[in-house]
Amino acid sequence: MALGPLEHWWLRRHLSAYADGALGPSQQRRLAGHLARCPACQQELTELQATARALARLPQAPLPRPFRLSAAQALPAAPGPGPALRLLPGMAVACSLLLAALLAYDVVRPTSGPSAPGLEAARPAAPQEVPAQGRSPAIAVTPSPAPIPALPFRSEEATPPSPQEAAPPPRPVAGGGGPSPLRLAQVGAAAAALAAAGAWGALALRARRRL
């Protein structure tokens, strides 16, 4: 008796399939046994059967016109995304690999840098030297306390000479710190990979829906 409510709940879910004879023999017998002692399920079964019969009695609508295909309708569809669908996944993978290679190169590059002593010395100085150099005339006209202590600190290691000589070396490095070719290539590869994958997904979805 403890299983009563659970059994009732479980069997009730199968009343429609029972009404259609779509249950296995053992389940069919089990439900028949339950129905013999459950008036609520009997009532529900009657209602479900009545609903199914009412639907079965709905008349079929007459055809508005015949649907025979004309020769024009039977022509093969215009060549759609077929070749593109085949090429796009390869493009997406190739662009992703290129992006991965570029990113890997970007990660590995700083660790291989110290082998070149000149570069190591120039690289950390670059970001700070740019504003210093850009403001050099202003510093000369209105000396402010902030930049002045900074300059001797850096010039101790890198360049003891005068400010006029110290300015030129950071220039090329500072220019490379902006939109470098490597960064541009990474962004380009990422954009191409995303575009190819997105276009492939959209075309594949469209082709699937068309069937």
Binding site: A50, L58, F67, A71, Q73
Partner: protein
């Protein structure tokens, strides 16, 4: 079935007349399923025509089994596309009112059937598309559970679940409007 196989083989080899023989065999079924799913005659007409065109062009992808279920699956996908376009637009009741009342009935019976048909169509329209399709294929068109599963591209268990849920929901819908006790009883009496 053998005749259908022969027609399919001819249609696959490019004989349009053979395919059109299959169209004639199934056009009533396909159109009525589209009509019950979409609830609008013009949209159902377009969906049915597009389904036959798509089926002809995709015959090479038919891997055997029930051709009728395969055709219905294509038609159902067309209807889903259309429903997606409509989004939240409520389904019209045109299908119910456009359907002819069965002949040889007393005026009272015809009234009963007309009103019951409208409630049924409105109840079907209130169901999610997947459940509506399952119920239309099973109860309105009389397909077996196996064929419904093929037409819907899902498992037998899923079909059982969808039919059970949709039938129970439609029953609740009819009961809430006071239709089920007398309307469905009348349907049962005429069996």
């Amino acid at each position: 079935m053998e005749e259908e196989e022969a027609l399919l083989a001819q249609a696959r080899s490019g004989r349009l007349e053979a395919f059109n023989a299959l169209v004639e065999r199934y056009q009533g079924l396909v159109y009525n399923v589209c009509l019950r799913l979409l609830g609008e005659a013009a949209a159902a007409e377009d969906a049915a025509q597009e389904a036959f065109i798509a089926a002809y062009r995709s015959l090479g992808r038919f891997r055997g089994g029930s051709f009728r279920a395969w055709l219905l699956r294509i038609a159902a996908n067309r209807c889903y596309d259309e429903l997606r376009r409509w989004r939240r637009r409520p389904l019209p009741l045109e299908a119910a009112s456009a359907l002819p009342a069965p002949q040889e009935q007393s005026p009272h019976d015809a009234y009963l059937q007309g009103e019951l048909a409208q409630h049924l169509q409105a109840g079907l329209a209130s169901l999610p598309p997947n459940q509506r399709l399952a119920l239309v294929l099973r109860d309105v068109q009389g397909l077996s559970y196996e064929e419904v599963a093929q037409a819907m591209g899902c498992s037998l268990g899923t079909v059982k679940s969808r039919i059970a849920r949709s039938r129970a929901r439609l029953r609740d819908y009819l009961k809430a409007r006071g239709v089920l006790p007398w309307g469905a009883a009348a349907a049962v009496e005429e069996e």
